[in-house]
């Protein structure tokens, strides 16, 4: 076609957004008729050269004003409620969503699948599976946008943001960076490629492979000496990390927080900002020592330790090489979350 008039609807939620938009378009047409109609009609009927009855009869200004205040107000509240409820669902991914890591940098998207496969400026996803993108930026703010899915989320440095969707139609769709990020902003584009589940499996095993993030994270965990304190025969008393992810962590000063991705990230980079109750703030910062990639891997490893795992322990950290994800074998007595 010479020109498209409506974007593809290729994910859950796209239709909901489009329905709201159609409602808004109809409402707009209604108000344009309500405003432009009288302007044109009065402009013709009461033009100065034309005789017309211009005697104004008495009218109740208050009633008129209240009517045209309340009617738009009610319509506005309706649209607010509908659009906000769809948005609320957009912001809350299901627990079983498949998590894909996205790193934005000037001017490309680096993507890693849970199985380990990496790609650049392309996002392959299986149809019908809830997908959660966990995203961060290595430099400036970017924004991850797939118009056919009707979703967008800014991607920030120093912070994790996420978005989720269920692809519903196989095909290739545009992927854009929509937060201005410098000279190459207009080239920071790519494709979202929705495959059938079988094709996705085939794609995962084709081409260059790399280690899955949890496993890579387990290696980093030892390599950077984390295990020295958080597992094994500890020299320094540090909280166990088994079952930490998703749990409620008691902090110094009678506060608590939920151990989500952002909390884990902050605890690695800024360990003294949120100290677990009962522990000394002795952990060194890893700011500047770990790449975003390595952080993703470490966090993936920590996630693989729980939930479900019982108590953290003082046993040496072990993981078996034959397993897909690293596994900590817990035992022992005391321990608090973290």
């Amino acid at each position: 076609m010479l020109f498209p008039i409506w974007p593809d609807e290729a994910a859950s939620g796209a239709q909901e957004v489009d329905q709201i938009v159609i409602g808004l378009v109809l409402m707009s047409l209604f108000f344009i008729i309500v405003v432009a109609g009288p302007i044109l009609y009065f402009g013709f009927k009461y033009r100065r050269s034309r005789p017309a009855n211009r005697v104004i009869s008495h009218h109740n200004t208050w009633a008129i004003e209240i009517t045209w205040t309340l009617v738009p107000l009610i319509i506005a509240v309706c649209f607010f409620v509908v659009a906000a409820s769809v948005y609320f669902r957009q912001r809350h991914p299901p627990a079983d969503a498949m998590e894909i890591h996205v790193i934005g940098k000037q001017w490309m998207w680096k993507i890693q699948h849970p199985q380990g496969k990496r790609e650049i400026n392309e996002l392959h996803v299986p149809v019908g599976v809830p997908i959660k993108l966990l995203m961060t930026s290595q430099d400036v703010i970017h924004s991850f946008y797939i118009p056919a899915f009707r979703i967008k989320q800014d991607v920030l440095p120093g912070r994790y943001t996420s978005m989720w969707f269920v692809p519903q139609k196989t095909g290739e769709y545009h992927l854009f960076c929509t937060q201005y990020c410098g000279e190459g902003h207009a080239r920071m584009t790519g494709k979202a490629i929705v495959l059938s589940k079988a094709d996705y499996q085939k794609w995962l095993t084709s081409g260059e492979q790399s280690e899955n993030p949890a496993k890579a994270g387990a290696e980093l965990f030892r390599q950077y000496g984390c295990s020295g304190c958080h597992a094994g025969s500890r020299v320094v008393r540090a909280p166990s990390l088994v079952g930490l992810y998703g749990s409620v962590v008691p902090l110094e000063g009678n506060k608590t927080t939920i151990a989500d991705d952002q909390y884990l990230r902050d605890s690695i980079l800024l360990p003294n900002s949120q100290v677990v109750a009962g522990y000394e703030p002795v952990m060194p910062s890893y700011q500047g020592k770990l790449s975003e990639d390595a952080l993703f891997s470490l966090i993936a490893y920590l996630k693989s330790l729980g939930p479900g795992a019982e108590e953290g322990g003082t046993q040496p950290l072990k993981y078996s090489n034959d397993m897909g994800a690293a596994q900590l074998l817990p035992s022992g007595s005391k321990g608090s979350a973290k």
């Binding site: 009288p38 302007i39 009065f42 200004t61 208050w62 000037q106 703010i141 410098g182 190459g184």
Partner: protein, 549 residues
């Protein structure tokens, strides 16, 4: 310094009388020259942007140049044209006349404002000449503070300085409105233009300091590497956005409220009717100014702001639409049983209502959370705010300029050419920006120098529209200049309009009024056709008494 033997305020022609004047009318003209100069620069940038976008692969400009051009366009249009356009030019000229005052409360401060404005503008220009800035007018951190090349510090310094001009002008208008109204000119006898300038001034005085602080913080982080916004230095980039939009959203209302004020003058005059629902229109101006401070977060629905905050901001954004709707309905109702003349100012005013309505309604799309997630950062936003800022503010500015041109210069512009220009502007505007709504909904991101080929059709329409719009802008330049020598003499009140500004000669004498006028009735007191004895319904503005006009 002005002598009495020469009749009008334009009589003196010495350099000193031009550059050191404290006459609000002359300063209004100085502002007119300044903003037209900056507008011309920003318009050239827009033209180059539109030319580049004819082709999906660009070719005319490098992406780097393109990025610098849209930054230039945004910065100059927002801070050096739109914000000062109606307040500093028309407001400066008309406000004291409407109040029956001799000048603004602080004439020297007014002159200082103009100098600060130009100093800021020249600093910003220097930043352009010295290599340019490619951050966009929004200066989002950490790109602007850490990563961008170019003259960011000079540019923000320019805006910083110009901000003081805004603050001083706002302060001047507020004090003038409180202190210098003619005897009998009570608050509810003020023309709506005064109300809207007052609301605008409140915003300028309260919001601009936040911008100044923000720009200073940008400079501090950029020069000394103090971590404020850049997370790698320990800062928070979302903090930047909160501060920026806390200023810039109210600033959006600075770019529309004065336009609404102008239209509220034009509609009654050319319909020969009192403004329908005067107290509601006046109250709506103030309501918009107040609500305008509470909706900044609707620029940040996808920024990682909490979804609960998003909901509050979305709800408040819907609320701010209501006073705007009230205004539109009241303007429309004013036409009922009027005696309507479609002179040039009226054409601009009616065009304003149509385009502002379209811009406002698409604002409801953007306030709808789930829809905003899709269309924010796209051409949909670009189209929306151009409908408000160009379709609204620029049309109102043109309408006001035509309406008060005879007062400013003492001469009439050629009416037929004026109507033609208004029509051309309206058509060109819609052709330029309507396709951008579709582009945005299709997913075309803003600030892209290159784009996928399926979007080309709409970009070509938009560029074609922009060239027509350019003709609409250029025509008035020529006939206004022509009218200075050859226009018909206007006389004090060519439109038979009410309002104190029409009760003094055109152009007015240096101190505006021979004798201070005394006001004994409300505004827009146009003679109504013979009617049953007027019993004003409750809630309406005081009116009646048939004074002249």
């Amino acid at each position: 310094m002005n002598t009495d033997q020469k009749a009008d305020y334009l009589a003196e022609h010495t350099l000193r009388s031009c550059l050191l004047t404290t006459d609000h009318k002359r300063i209004g003209l100085l502002y007119l020259f300044s903003i037209l100069f900056f507008f011309a620069i920003a318009a050239v940038a827009a033209a180059l942007i539109r030319l580049q976008l004819i082709s999906p692969t660009g070719g005319l400009l490098t992406t780097e140049t393109y990025n610098r051009l849209f930054t230039l366009h945004g910065v100059f249009m927002v801070w050096f044209f739109l914000i000062p356009s109606i307040p500093s030019v028309l407001g400066n000229f008309i406000l004291p006349l409407m109040l029956g005052a001799r000048d603004l409360a602080f004439p020297k401060l007014n002159l200082l404002s103009w100098y600060l404005f130009n100093a800021g503008g020249l600093l910003a220009l220097w930043a352009i000449v010295g290599g340019g800035v490619d951050t966009g007018w929004t200066f989002y951190a950490p790109y602007s503070t850490t990563y961008a090349n170019g003259q960011v510090v000079t540019m923000v310094a320019g805006i910083f300085v110009a901000g003081f001009s805004s603050i001083l002008t706002g302060l001047n208008f507020i004090v003038t409105t409180h202190q210098m109204r003619a005897p009998g000119l009570t608050w509810f006898r003020l023309p709506i233009f005064v109300w809207s300038l007052y609301a605008t001034s409140l915003i300028l005085v309260l919001a601009t300091p936040v911008l100044a602080m923000l720009l200073m913080l940008v400079g501090i982080e950029r020069i000394w590497g103090v971590g404020i916004f850049d997370p790698s230095l320990g800062g928070d980039p979302v903090l930047f956005q909160h501060l920026f939009w806390f200023y810039s959203h109210p600033a959006v209302y600075v770019m529309i409220l004065p336009g609404m004020g102008v239209v509220s003058e034009l509609i009654p005059c050319f319909a020969r009717k009192r403004l329908f629902g005067y107290p509601f229109v006046a109250g709506a101006s103030v309501a918009i100014a107040v609500f305008g401070f509470l909706v900044w977060g609707h620029h940040m629905f996808v920024s990682s702001q909490s979804p609960y905050a998003g909901m509050v901001f979305s709800f408040l954004s819907y609320m701010v639409a209501i006073p705007s709707a009230i205004k539109v309905f009241n303007w429309t109702a004013t036409l009922y049983k009027g005696s309507i003349a479609l002179d040039t100012p009226m054409l601009y005013a009616l065009g304003f209502i149509g385009l502002f309505t379209a811009g406002g309604l698409t604002g409801l799309f953007l306030a709808a959370l789930a829809v905003d997630v899709h269309v924010t950062h796209t051409y949909f936003v670009v189209a929306h705010f151009h409908y408000i800022m160009v379709g609204g503010m620029v049309l109102a500015f043109m309408g006001g300029l035509h309406y008060w041109w005879p007062k400013i210069t003492g001469r009439m512009y050629p009416e037929q050419l004026g109507r033609l220009a208004a029509l051309v502007t309206f058509i060109g505007f819609n052709l330029t920006f309507f396709p951008q709504f579709i582009l945005g909904y299709l997913g075309m991101p803003r600030r892209y120098a290159l784009y996928p080929p399926e979007f080309q059709f709409y970009h070509i329409l938009s560029t074609a529209g922009a060239s027509i719009l350019g003709v609409g802008y250029a025509l008035p330049v020529f006939y206004f200049l022509w009218s200075l020598k050859h226009g018909l003499r206007a006389g004090p009140n060519p439109w038979c309009a009410t309002g104190l500004e029409w009760q003094t000669p055109s152009p007015p004498p240096p101190y505006n009024f021979e004798t201070t006028p005394i006001v004994d009735s409300g505004p827009y007191n146009y003679p109504q056709p013979a009617s049953p004895p007027p019993t004003p319904p409750p809630g309406e503005a005081p009116r009646m008494t048939n004074t002249e006009s």
